[in-house]
């Protein structure tokens, strides 16, 4: 089912998924290209037609930073924390927290979950995949 959402609703499927712990991407209803973050039209064909697509959830680390300074005082107890940029299998990237003790490395396989972040907003977390 393809729909043309109101502009203010383009991110709603992502946030509904995040609240349920799953990554929901946008798939163009015209050309099928998958995109993220949510946008009003497809960057490949400029179509407004869009449908939600639940992601596989697996990806590999593209880059990262380990933060040692509390840019928000509410994060002081989290220090240090690792933010990873992850190449998802669908070809888009997601930024989130890396959980666990494994040091980040390029191509490290990870799997997404969600957990509450600042203001309770659900944010991506990644766990290292053990195959």
């Amino acid at each position: 089912m393809t729909s043309t959402p109101e502009p203010e609703d383009i991110a709603a499927p992502y946030w509904r998924g995040a609240a349920e712990g799953v990554l929901v991407l946008q798939r163009c209803g015209n050309c099928g290209v998958v995109r993220h973050y949510p946008r009003a039209i497809c960057s490949a064909c400029q179509s407004e037609l869009v449908e939600p697509q639940q992601a596989d959830g697996r990806g590999t680390v593209h880059s990262w930073t380990v933060t040692h300074h509390a840019f928000d005082p509410r994060l002081a107890d989290d220090l240090p924390y690792t933010l990873v940029t992850v190449d998802m299998r669908e070809g888009v990237r997601v930024l989130g927290r890396l959980d666990g003790d494994t040091a980040p490395a390029i191509d490290l396989p990870v799997r997404i979950t969600f957990a509450p972040g600042l203001d309770g907003t659900p944010v991506p977390h990644f766990e290292v995949e053990t195959s």
């Binding site: 991110a11 930073t65 933060t67 040692h68 928000d72 933010l83 490395a105 600042l118």
Partner: protein
Amino acid sequence: MSRASVVGVGETEYTKRSPRSALQHQLEASLTAIADAGLTPGDVDGVIPIGITGAPVEEYVADFGITDLRFSAVVPHGGASAVGALQLAGAAIAAGLCSTVLVPFGRNTSSGAKAGQRIHTMPQFHFVSEYERPAGNIAPAQLYAPMARRHMELYGTTSEQFGEIAVSTREHALLNGRGLMTKPITLADHQASRMITDPFRLLDCSLESDGGAAFVVTSPERARDLAQTPVDLLGSAMGHPDSPSSITQRPDLTRVGVAKAAALAFEAAGVTHADIDVAEIYDCFTYIVLCQLEDLGFCAKGEGGPFVEGGRLRLGGELPTNTHGGLLSQSHMLAVNHVVELVRQLRGTAGAAQVAGAETGLVTGYGDMGDGGVAILRKGTS
């Protein structure tokens, strides 16, 4: 053939926790630049205020007694705005829209919001604000750190190479006399400075500072009749990275907007890299200098680390860079101070940090998450 010349430059004192407002800094720097040119405030007929702290042009009309403002615009590209404004001023003058353009900047950040708060008021950062800030990705240092980390992993670039940029820039600040930073640093100091967000240590990060800087642009013909040796704008270009508003989604994390602008600017200027005597490279973080040196074509992608070693960026080196101390050690004036310094270098009035015989120079801007600008200037004939 140049179509515009920079004829006046001005700066305020650079401090922290200044009692003076952003507007006061802008007006003071502007008046200094206008007087430097040998003009009066009412001669200005174009204004391009820089940055989110920029006062509306109506303030200048009223405060400067401008009776016939013919051109105004805003360049919304953060740290690339100063070079963008220089380009736009040149285009407006060449098109006959106006004759004399003021580009003012001034801020009071120490007493206000820090960069990690400011960017979230800006629409171009909305993806960061909505999707990444809740995870703790808040400040520019965190946004750019994965770019640097990727470069290190792919090419073997080291923190010590970032440190070389911090050390040489500090050396230049000490010679400048206006720099906020007044003590020399060593590579060991850089390595011992606290980690902010890996791989950026404290001494990889630019300053939060207060003050103002401004420059005045007019036609080359008019420039010859004014007070200073004119500095001609030979060529300029702007460029934007792919996925400009989300670094996370950017196909190549190691390339920024100047990669698209550099060849255009060199072609327009009719000069080559070997002609560049001095460079003022946007330096919000050490790595951003290294990355731009590659994207500008001074070395190949991945070779920026070895390129900055051996004193190449120091006075007396092959490419003296950020001879005023930059955003890292002089003051964070959003690269308006970079334009000011390049003009002084090409006039031959840069004081203790003067590059002997400098005739042609380059200035860049890097804004928001990678918007880029390049301008190439040359000493004119008075």
